[in-house]
């Protein structure tokens, strides 16, 4: 059995799904100031056994809500972020989102979260089985 003692777990503050697109944000400003964050991994439950052909990740740069997404009002997004490592482990797609460490933790006001698109996959099941963050701390 692997100890998870040094890890923190965060579930989404906001979550919306539209077809193959996931909008998600987390509030990490509550992590104690004297704690050092080493890595942030986004775990997305994944029901296909094969690694998705294409996954796009963008940063959200304006306010949004699940209701607005349902109504077709989408927030602004950055360009596709490259260099994010992904792996498929036991029915979860794991994306290394450590690069958002400072923004999500220290700049809560400008933290609108990210957009993940997994092409040709209906992600509606994520509403009942939400993605989560696993954060390594010391």
């Amino acid at each position: 059995m692997t100890s998870l003692e040094k890890k923190m777990f965060f579930i989404p503050k906001n979550l919306a799904v539209r077809k193959d697109r996931l909008y998600i944000s987390f509030n990490l400003s509550v992590i104690p100031k004297d704690m050092k964050v080493l890595s942030i991994q986004l775990h997305i439950p994944f029901h296909n056994k094969k690694k998705p052909k294409k996954t796009y990740i963008k940063e959200l740069t304006s306010d949004w809500s699940p209701k607005k997404i349902r109504d077709g009002i989408n927030p602004n997004k950055s360009k596709v972020l490259i260099g994010l490592q992904q792996q498929l482990k036991e029915n979860e797609l794991i994306i290394d989102t450590t690069l958002f460490k400072d923004k999500w933790r220290l700049s809560n006001k400008n933290n609108y979260g990210i957009y993940v698109r997994i092409t040709n996959d209906n992600l509606s099941y994520l509403i009942n089985n939400p993605p989560y963050l696993v954060i390594d701390t010391i």
């Binding site: 100890s3 003692e5 890890k7 923190m8 777990f9 579930i11 509403i127 089985n129 989560y132």
Partner: protein
């Protein structure tokens, strides 16, 4: 397994239990909406009622087990319990004392008990009726708390207070000390019987050599640092049972004075190594320990063993996992 703890942190227990569950490989998160000078933060997300309510849907969908504390749940009027129940998730309530201590019942076997912080009996009754509409099982730390909830739940488990024993290195009192340091840390002076303790202290100052410190409004981490210097620790002398301060003191190898009700003595594991002191005999209890450095040391050694055996979170979590496994 994914375990939710919330939403009021009492005596660091949510964090300690979450830490122990994580060591066993489970995802466990304590959401705390009650922040105090005690400054508990390990394995917790310190949030507020507004923020946590906004996340209700995600919380209910993510976690498998809901372990609530102190008679509080996420939504007002326990509205979340029906939602959680409908999702077929497991729920348990952990009661700690003041929130469910019926005034008359508490005084039945205890002339000293202070219940000024407990709500009126009828409020407690109504609250327990609301909770038990959805929750069948509860946890309490001992037989002092048990009778207050026993008639409401289908099953009530006794599970001792947990501490992370790794954080308490023993500092046994020296047998050579001529001027012992007595510590008392009242989070709630009326409940702990501080007035009785300090009256005894003042009287003993005329005849005995010792130092006395009263510790208040400090973080738990800071208080524990101060305990290390103590030769005698006086916990609560009115309640009739022992609490976290006693357990932490024993883990540090300190002799503890605390009131254990006569009718409850046998309900604790045998050999509970504390000095029994109530408002009527507290002066004598303190005096005996001031006069006996050898006994202080001996109690400290026994206390450490007792805390390790019965209150280590590694021991307590096994009991907790067993309780979880049988929840329906």
């Amino acid at each position: 397994m994914r375990v939710f703890h919330g939403i009021i942190e009492i005596a660091g227990q949510m964090g300690i239990l979450c830490g122990a569950l994580k060591r066993k490989g489970h995802i466990a998160v304590g959401y705390n909406t009650f922040q105090s000078y005690l400054d508990y933060k390990e394995h917790l997300i310190n949030t507020d009622a507004f923020e946590i309510r906004k996340m209700l849907k995600q919380i209910v969908n993510f976690f498998d087990i809901f372990h609530f504390h102190y008679g509080a749940t996420i939504m007002p009027n326990f509205e979340d319990l029906e939602i959680i129940k409908n999702k077929k998730k497991k729920i348990i309530m952990h009661h700690w004392g003041n929130e469910i201590r019926f005034h008359d019942l508490a005084m039945l076997n205890n002339p000293y008990v202070y219940t000024g912080d407990s709500p009126p009996n009828n409020d407690i009754h109504q609250k327990l009726l609301s909770i038990t509409k959805y929750i069948d099982e509860a946890i309490v730390q001992d037989y002092e708390v048990l009778p207050h909830v026993a008639n409401y739940y289908k099953k009530v488990h006794i599970m001792p207070i947990a501490i992370d024993i790794r954080k308490f290195k023993p500092h046994y009192p020296s047998r050579e000390t001529k001027k012992p340091l007595i510590l008392h840390a009242p989070t709630n002076p009326d409940f702990k019987g501080t007035a009785y303790i300090e009256k005894a202290i003042e009287e003993l100052r005329h005849t005995h050599l010792f130092d006395y410190k009263r510790i208040e409004k400090m973080s738990n981490a800071h208080v524990v640092e101060m305990y290390k210097e103590a030769d005698i620790i006086v916990d609560q002398v009115c309640c009739g049972s022992y609490g976290l301060l006693s357990v932490e003191s024993m883990a540090l190898g300190k002799p503890v004075i605390v009131y254990i009700r006569e009718d409850l003595k046998d309900s604790f594991p045998s050999g509970l190594p504390v000095v029994n002191g109530n408002p009527d005999n507290i002066k004598q209890a303190i005096k005996d320990l001031i006069e006996s450095p050898e006994r202080r040391h001996e109690l400290g050694v026994k206390g450490r063993e007792f805390a390790k055996k019965y209150h280590s979170s590694n021991v307590v979590v096994e009991r907790l996992l067993n309780i979880y496994s049988k929840l329906s």
